[in-house]
């Protein structure tokens, strides 16, 4: 496939509200996770750590106010950060050739929880609440289309925790097949009661900081956040080279313990890019911190790469960002290529001794121009994204 150049990107999550803040704390090995939930309306009846975005998110401008929701505010904050680059792309390619492919698993679910409670009490729905503009997953993509006044294809990918990695793969296909010349792509998700209570019901929330790949790992931490990447058909520097996507066809919420689907996703990404496994220097793992996920993923990585790449999970910094995880971790991969540095796998020490992979216990120099990011999800959805510092 032709490369999709990442000409700008930004992030917001528990580590910070800008690319610089987030990447500085990542490099310093600081976590954004905190015990408890910093919102009275979300306080769950169990102990866990959460990656919460602190402070008030900026209000939407009046022209976009009908999209009001927390996830819309987060989308707006991110879009504002890369607006200059997006406007350059629009000037270069034209507004009809700029697409928007976002991802979210929750959309405006937090507001729908409030609206549903009101409806049950036979009270009016909250002012401004509507299914299409508040709840709908697609509202985030429509907001960006309206904000940037672009008219290329616009849609949202929603495949639970693989959503935003798959949004980047969809964006890449739009560029590769000449449907678009530039794509604003990424993912956004915010905290809500249903997500926290649902993962608690599945018995996989950790009461402490998550410990991906550690011997005593005991579950996940949920976080909120987002990342936007501007992908263009021409550019310089880091680029998305290929993706591999498979389905486990095994179980709705548990990974195939053999890791077969994950392995095939990684092999497809290599095959589609022409990059050799031995040339991949860093792998940002899905690494949620559950016993099952990390064991299956480590086996799959070992079969494809052996002990070659430095493996890091960044869930210990941000929590699991669900629909925003793939784009956030893709942005971390782009940063790793730019800075030639692999972040430490926070919480992984000491790693489970029988995992046959190399965990990055400290930040280390990246000695290769290729990195790979894994995302897996409910429904057995698997994706691996392969990035390169330059086109091969």
């Amino acid at each position: 496939m032709s490369p999709a150049f990442c000409t700008d990107f930004t992030l917001c999550n528990a580590l910070g509200r800008s690319r610089t803040e987030v990447l500085n704390k990542l490099a310093a090995g600081q976590t954004g996770l905190q015990p408890g939930v910093a919102s009275a309306s979300l306080e769950p009846p169990f102990s866990t750590c959460v990656g919460h975005i602190t402070g008030v998110l900026p209000a939407l401008p009046p022209a976009l106010a009908t999209y009001e929701s927390r996830v819309a505010r987060l989308t707006f904050l991110l879009a504002r950060d890369i607006a200059a680059s997006v406007h350059k792309a629009i000037a270069r390619w034209g507004p009809r050739r700029v697409a928007v492919v976002l991802a979210t698993s929750t959309g405006g679910l937090a507001e729908t929880e409030t609206a549903h409670r009101a409806a049950l009490r036979d009270e009016p729905l909250p002012p401004g609440y509507g299914l299409l503009r508040t709840h709908s997953l697609a509202a985030t993509a429509e907001l960006l289309q309206a904000m940037f006044a672009v008219s290329g294809p616009a849609f949202v990918v929603s495949t639970a925790c693989s959503s935003s990695a798959k949004a980047l793969a969809s964006a890449h296909r739009l560029l590769h097949t000449n449907v678009a010349d530039a794509v604003v792509a990424g993912g956004v998700d915010t905290l809500c009661s249903l997500t926290l209570n649902g993962f608690a019901a599945l018995g996989i929330l950790s009461p402490t900081m998550c410990k991906p790949f550690a011997a005593d790992r005991n579950g996940i931490n949920i976080g909120e956040g987002g990342a936007l990447l501007l992908l263009e058909r021409e550019g310089q520097g880091p680029a998305l080279l290929a993706s591999g996507e498979t389905s486990d066809a095994h179980h709705m919420s548990a990974p195939d313990p053999t890791g077969h689907g994950a392995e095939q996703a990684m092999r497809l990404a290599l095959q589609h890019s022409g990059v050799l496994a031995a040339d991949v220097g860093h792998l940002n793992a899905h690494g949620t911190g559950t016993q099952l996920n990390d064991a299956a993923e480590a086996m799959a990585i070992a079969r494809v790469f052996g002990r070659g790449p430095l493996v890091a999970s960044t869930k210990g910094y941000t929590g699991h960002l669900l629909g925003a995880a793939g784009a956030t971790e893709a942005a971390f991969c782009v940063a790793a290529l730019l800075d030639q540095c692999v972040p430490a796998s926070l919480g992984s020490e000491p790693p489970q001794p029988d995992l046959e992979i190399t965990i990055a216990s400290q930040p280390q120099r990246l000695a290769s121009p290729f990195v790979l990011s894994n995302s897996f999800a409910f429904g057995g959805s698997n994706i691996s994204l392969l990035f390169g510092a330059d086109t091969p």
Binding site: T66, A138, F155, T159, N197, A249, G379, S381
Partner: protein, 244 residues
């Protein structure tokens, strides 16, 4: 602008199916792809998708479990979501893990891939009132990139009355099975997707099912007409399908 140039990357339609709840129809689709236990647990949206994906794949003579899938739904598993929100009005422990894991937008994709042991690519998208059009765009881009058999399934349930206090509308789903050019036969419809220059503003309201256009689209394709069909209705942005 064409996004499928006439000499390359056409969609070759080898199978098609529609399910909607109208006068005389069964209240629930048969969804024979799912085993009885899975069928009993599935939402209406998942049942509709299983029904139309199974029919379209069979008509296209796809091998069981060997085709890619693109699912599109504006609202996804709303029925399941409302059940969960109801359950949360009690204690948190009442959230059913089974219902939670099947409330995600790709719940149908997961259940159908498990039922058919299909390990191929699958994605699930949403695009509001443009969901049908964007489903075709995603299908075209995937087919042009990988040239492998694919089923595109699109549909929406009726909206929850409490959160959408307008006129109710009927649930609808349809599926379209596409073969790569190398496997196309003369009897397969050859489709081209257009992004027209003249688009209108998106509809703000929710009068019809966001996927309502599936009914006239499948009727138009079944009639074998040659020409252009608008996917977006009168006021939507102008995505069209041309049958060559």
């Amino acid at each position: 602008m064409n996004i499928t140039p006439k000499d390359d990357g056409l969609l070759h339609l080898a199978g098609m199916a529609l399910w909607t709840r109208d006068a005389g129809s069964e209240p629930l689709p048969a969804a024979a792809m799912l085993n009885p236990r899975a069928r009993g647990r599935a939402s209406l949206l998942t049942l509709m998708f299983a029904e139309v994906v199974g029919q379209a794949a069979a008509e296209a003579e796809f091998e069981h479990g060997s085709f890619a899938t693109v699912y599109g739904s504006s609202f996804g598993e709303m029925e399941r979501l409302i059940e969960l929100l109801h359950s949360m009005q009690g204690s948190a422990s009442e959230v059913s893990p089974l219902r939670f894991q099947t409330s995600v937008h790709n719940a149908a994709a997961g259940q159908i891939s498990i039922a058919s042991k299909n390990t191929a690519f699958s994605t699930s998208i949403a695009a509001g009132n443009n969901t049908v059009a964007m489903g075709f765009v995603e299908a075209v881009a995937w087919m042009k990139t990988y040239a492998q058999p694919l089923v595109l399934a699109l549909g929406d349930e009726a909206p929850p009355a409490r959160l959408h206090p307008g006129e109710p509308y009927a649930p609808i789903a349809a599926a379209f099975a596409f073969v790569p050019p190398s496997e196309a036969r003369p009897e397969h419809a050859r489709l081209q997707v257009h992004l027209n220059e003249a688009g209108g503003p998106p509809r703000a309201g929710l009068v019809h099912n966001p996927c309502a256009v599936l009914q006239p689209l499948t009727a138009w394709l079944a009639a074998g007409s040659v020409g252009v069909f608008s996917l977006s209705g009168a006021a939507g942005s102008a995505y069209c399908i041309e049958r060559l």
